[in-house]
Amino acid sequence: MTGIKEKPDTEKQDLTDHIAQSQIWKSIFRHGFTDTQRNRVLQMTAGFLLHTRPVRVWTHGIRLRYTWGAGGLTFLMYVVACITGIVLMFYYRPVPEYAYADMKYLKFDIPFGMFLRNMHRWSAHAMVILVLVHMLRVFLTGSYKKPREFNWVIGVCLLTLTLLLSFTGYLLPWDQLAMWAVTVGTNMARATPFVGHEGPFAEFLPFISPSFDARSFLLGGTLVGPGTLLRFYVLHCVVLPVVTTFLVFVHFYRIRKDGGISGPMKALEEES
């Protein structure tokens, strides 16, 4: 190396040291960069932000041909949908008088509005597909087996939540497609055993009626109306994302706790 090249490196090193040795940095990150096994573990486990991540990953775990990266991509799609969704909320009003008009307003009169709406829409579609791809990979590699059974269960819950997020988001444009899709979708709730007014065994519960059953619980009435739009909006923007985010991080934490990404027995033997 020449002297000319070394000089800026040294300055850079000094600056990095200066920052890393400052009280602010140390108060946040606690553990320095010392490259020891113990310090690596401490860096990941002592802080809140990194504790869901593994300390080390298996070599096979970063092989794209093995994992397909589908779980990570699903999470990426979820993050994209969350961010674009929050941005869309600045313009969208979930009442029948404005919902459709606001959707059109976003599409035609807001700079980047159509772009953001489509990002939200396509990331949601991609998320559904990628969840299924991820599940297929986990199934084919037998990664649902002990000790990962519980994480599979959490994954199934997350699949359901993904589908519910899609279904509740479907109503929000408040156009004919949305109206009828949700009419059809919620009509199935009529046939719920016990709590659907046309379902089996409902005749044994005298208080179950068209205006007091599983369907009207979802609709906020007996028709797809203003109450339905508001209910689906609250579910789509608050209830389901909160539950999903919580379970996503339990899912990630369990990967670490269950011994990292599963692998072929041969690879595991070679690496351990």
Partner: protein, 186 residues
């Protein structure tokens, strides 16, 4: 060692032989047990009550929805043998006049709830969503619809007009079409 049931590493420790851990408590329900039980009871009752309250909260006592009944004009306004679609847009209901009387047919497909259309040239109701077909009396004969269209309660008001009550449905498969309330004899 004395005959104590303790098995952990006590032999190595310089402890007196222990046994209190195995003695039965003086009372079945100690004070602490009662208080802990009461605490859990309070918490669980509170959660159950607020859960039930939430369920009730989600069902409003007043709904701002259209009335179930509507007046459909006088019987002589409907020609014999015709399927009348004048109330489709507002009430989702066909009025059908036969030589013997009048019945009101629900325009809600029994497959998944779309609105079929009356095709007079083909003499059938056809659902645009998944292709279910129904005869003019409402009986299904093609497509995925699992049962016949429903009929509504129909009667004459004091002023001689037809009244249709969509809150009362008659289902063919349950023998409802034999009910005289579902067929207005004129």
């Amino acid at each position: 060692m004395p005959d104590t049931p303790c098995t952990a590493n006590e032999a190595s420790a310089n402890k007196p032989p222990c046994s209190p851990c195995c003695e039965k408590p003086a009372h079945l329900w100690g004070r602490r047990d009662v208080l802990v039980g009461l605490g859990w009871f309070t918490v669980l009752t509170g959660l159950l009550a607020s859960g039930a309250g939430f369920v009730r909260f989600m069902f409003p006592k007043v709904l701002f929805e259209p009335s179930n009944t509507f007046k459909a004009g006088y019987p002589w306004e409907y020609s014999v043998g015709a399927v009348d679609s004048r109330w489709i847009r507002d009430q989702r209901c066909w009025i059908i006049r036969e030589p013997t009387g009048i019945y009101a047919l629900s325009a809600t497909c029994t497959h998944l709830g779309c609105t079929p259309v009356w095709l007079s040239t083909e003499d059938k109701f056809k659902c645009p969503c998944h292709g279910s077909g129904f005869h003019r009396d409402g009986v299904n004969y093609e497509g995925p619809a699992p049962r016949a269209l429903e009929r509504f309660k129909i009667y004459l008001a004091d002023d001689g007009q037809i009244v249709v009550d969509k809150g009362k449905k008659f289902i063919f498969e349950k023998g409802g079409w034999n009910n005289p309330e579902g067929f207005l004899v004129v």
